[in-house]
Symmetry: C2
Subunit: 111 residues, 2 copies
DNA sequence: GTCGTATATCGTATATCGACGATAGTCAAT
DNA sequence: ATTGACTATCGTCGATATACGATATACGAC
């Protein structure tokens, strides 16, 4: 129930609870933060940023991980939208989604 | 460092493998990213940023989570260094660690 | 001292992550 | 159609995250 907080609103007016947009915003940033929450994924993102694109096989060679594990991380990065991949013959060429990258930087900068 | 990579060098010189600093750097960012990898923690950080400081109890009131759960998230945020708390009588006053915050923004911006 | 408040920690249950090998699917070349 | 190279998905396992209630701890008020 209402905590009958008739007390003098203290110093910092417990704020106006959490606004809905705030919740959605938090989930957005959490999703992007989670994409970078593993060293392997950070390394993949950094690798892709250092080139304009990169074959999946090259990524696997750079990492001390099994191919299937790298594929998993790539899937996560694709789900968060940070990375996109297009099929190029029998290979897949991955690259950074600049828009998502910009959004991430924006969200962090606006923190 | 001398990779003596007598291999076929392919199209794009599989780069010079991963340099050690790069690995440490990735882990740094991953740790900070992980701090923000949960909506509850994002909200806590945002709440703290909107004030100069905040009592633990106020944070709990803002969140739809049990007190013990919020305490756990605060512990994680303290471990990553993003947040610091000082005891103020029977309460604890949390605030953002500006230095860690700056480092996070720097790491993201430099991506 | 006791009582009440505020916070942290413990114990535990469930869910998800992160890793791997094995397998399935796709495409180019033959 | 068969082969070979590349990538994605499946199944599984141990480790960890997340959530909660219960309990422990620290402090101020009385």
């Amino acid at each position: 129930m209402v905590k009958a907080k008739a007390k003098s609103q203290k110093c910092c007016t417990a704020s106006e609870k959490l606004s809905l947009p705030d919740v959605a915003w938090a989930e957005d940033l959490a999703r992007l933060g989670w994409a970078l929450a593993h060293p392997a994924r950070v390394r993949i993102v950094r690798l892709l940023l250092s080139r304009t694109s990169c074959m999946c096989g090259e990524i696997v060679e750079e990492m001390p991980l099994a191919q299937s594990t790298v594929s998993q991380h790539l899937k996560i990065l694709k789900e968060t939208g940070l990375v996109q991949g297009e099929i190029d013959g029998p290979r897949v060429c991955y690259c950074i989604n600049e828009a998502a990258m910009a959004k991430l930087k924006q969200l962090i900068a606006d923190l």
